[in-house]
Structure formats: C-alpha cells, structure tokens
C-alpha cells in the first residue's frame, strides 16, 4: 500500500515542480528562453517560477557564483523546504568554466548537493528540458515522506 502512495505523490510532485531560479549570468537568459513560449516548460508542469525559496522545490543555479555570492546561494538553498532538488546549469556553476580565477567557486557542488548537471556554455533550452526530465525521473522515485 505504501508503495502506491509513494507512486501517487511522486507522480504529483514530478509534474508540478516549482523552480527557484538563481540566474547570475548568460545561462539565465537561456533559462528564460526555456520558460517562454517556444520551448514552454509548462509542458512539464514547471512553469511556476517562484522567486521565493520558501515556495520552491527545484533550485536551478544558472551562472557564475563568486565566493561573495556563495553564502547567498547557500542561504537560499537552506530556506527551501524539503523535499528539494538542485540543477547545476552550465559549465560555470558545475566547474567554474573558463573562469579559473581567484574569486570564482569552482563548482557549486562543493557547498550544496547537486542532482543534475547540465554541460554547455551556455546550454541550449533542449539541454535544460532534458535536465528537468532527469529530475522528474528522480522525483518519481523519491519516498513520499
């Protein structure tokens, strides 16, 4: 019986993800394109972008994160209610990208757990949709509680 509840809750969750965008660079432009009519993230139930972390369950880190910005990102992640998932979008968020410099965090996964990485500089909207579908697979398998 519990497995069936898990399945129902997982199905509901994966089709109503509320993303919290953390856009700090050009990846955020591609993220906006993903949300807009041509690519239409609403097809996956994830069009309700929330700019409050307290109303979100999917953090999309799209762009460079400096050592001055990392505490902000960590605070936003901590404010999101469980259960929550994280997408690291693009080369900069995932590894620092070309910015191998003194002030840039070389991958946000050093400080917050990342579920799906998107390669690219910046990734095209198709990559973002693919990442969202990967997140959906993961959400569907999660326990209800």
């Amino acid at each position: 019986m519990t497995t069936k509840v898990d399945a129902v809750v997982g199905w509901a969750r994966k089709n109503s993800l509320w993303p919290m965008p953390f856009g700090t660079a050009c990846c955020a432009i591609e993220l906006m394109a993903t949300l807009a009519s041509r690519f239409d993230l609403a097809r996956f139930g994830a069009e309700a972008i929330r700019f409050s972390p307290r109303q979100s369950d999917l953090l999309i880190v799209s762009g460079r994160v400096s050592i001055k910005m990392m505490p902000v990102l960590k605070k936003i992640y901590d404010q999101m209610p469980e259960p929550k998932w994280v997408i690291s979008m693009g080369a900069c968020a995932s590894s620092g990208g070309v910015f191998n410099t003194y002030t840039l965090v070389q991958g946000v996964d050093q400080y917050i757990p990342v579920d799906v990485y998107i390669p690219g500089c910046p990734p095209r909207p198709e990559n973002v949709i693919q990442a969202l579908m990967k997140i959906q697979e993961k959400v569907a398998q999660a326990k209800a509680n």
Binding site: I67, M70, Y102, T103
Partner: protein, 185 residues
C-alpha cells in the same frame, strides 16, 4: 639626441614626454597648468591620445581643484579613477593612480597620472572635488590596496570584506592564494 647607437631607440620613443626625451608641443591644458603652477611641479605628455600630466601626490587636491574650477579648463566630469601596477617594469615608483577627466564645456579630455610608492601607498581622496570619485576610489583601494586619505567611506566594494589580498597587484597569483577553496560562511 644621443650617440649613434641610441638613435633607433631615440626615434621610437620620441615625443612621448619621458624624462630626458623631447616633449611634444604643449597644448592648451599644459600651457594653462604651467602658467599656474610653473614648470617644476608637473611633467606633461601625450600618451593616450589626449594631453596628460604626471602630477605630484603631495599637492594633488589644489591641483585637481584648479583643473575643475579654472574657466579655461573646466574639467567638471571625472570619467574614471584607476591604478597601474608597474611591478617589474622600468619605473622607479611601483604604482600610479590615473584620473581620466572630461570637460563638457570645452569637449576636451585630460589624463592625470600620480605616482604612488609601494612602501607608502597613500594618496589624497578627490571625493571633495568630484563626488563621483567615491566608488571609483573604493575600487582602486579594493584591487590595489592604495589608501585614499580623506575618503568618507573607504571599504572594499567588490571583494568580500574579509578578503585579505589586493587581487589586481601583479604579484598576486591568478588563481589566488586559496581564498576560493578555504572561505567560510
């Protein structure tokens, strides 16, 4: 001109206003400054496509106030304040703080360079002359560690407050000194 062996170098650098080299014909701004301060206080050049001057930091504030208030100069707009680290270059003084000026009245640009020694990296603030210098001087302080005396609020502007280095100094490594890996929050 020097001896024959020096001629080639002499030709290449001719007219850039270095010490010991022939200076270009003084322009309007240079003439005006010399009329006010005399020949000794400044050396002038034409390094960046406009007239420029190498000024002394001790008398900076009266000099800058003159540039702003003199009706024939009227440099009412401070375009930028930045600094140059001339480490390992053939210069006696390591730093130079550079002020880019513009006069709306005369549609004229001017550049002021002020040498600042490494052992005593201090210079007077020009916020009292151009209020727009506030954040520009904070950035120079943040990146080069040059202290602007008399600045109303000299804090770091780009780097975190507890960042211990001055990252645009030429002896600071590109990848930092471990700040990006060891910071705590």
């Amino acid at each position: 001109m020097g001896k024959a062996v020096d001629n080639q170098e002499e030709r290449q650098t001719e007219g850039v206003g270095r010490p010991g080299r022939p200076e270009p014909d003084p322009g309007i701004v240079t003439t005006r400054i010399r009329a006010r301060f005399g020949d000794t206080s400044v050396s002038t050049g034409n390094a960046v496509g406009c007239e420029s001057v190498i000024a002394e930091r001790d008398a900076l504030l009266p000099f800058m106030t003159f540039l702003r208030d003199d009706p024939e100069l009227a440099f009412d707009y401070l375009v930028d304040v930045t600094a140059v680290d001339r480490l390992r270059l053939d210069e006696e003084v390591r730093f130079a703080v550079v002020y880019q000026l513009y006069s709306h009245k005369h549609n004229r640009r001017f550049s002021v360079s002020v040498p600042v020694p490494e052992a005593d990296p201090r210079i007077g603030s020009v916020v009292s002359v151009w209020p727009g210098a506030n954040w520009l001087e904070r950035e120079v302080y943040d990146m080069y560690g040059i202290v602007f005396e008399g600045h109303p609020d000299l804090r770091r502007i780009l780097m975190p407050d507890d960042f211990g280095s001055y990252p645009l100094r030429k002896d600071y490594p590109l990848h930092g000194k471990g700040e990006r890996d060891n910071f705590v929050f």
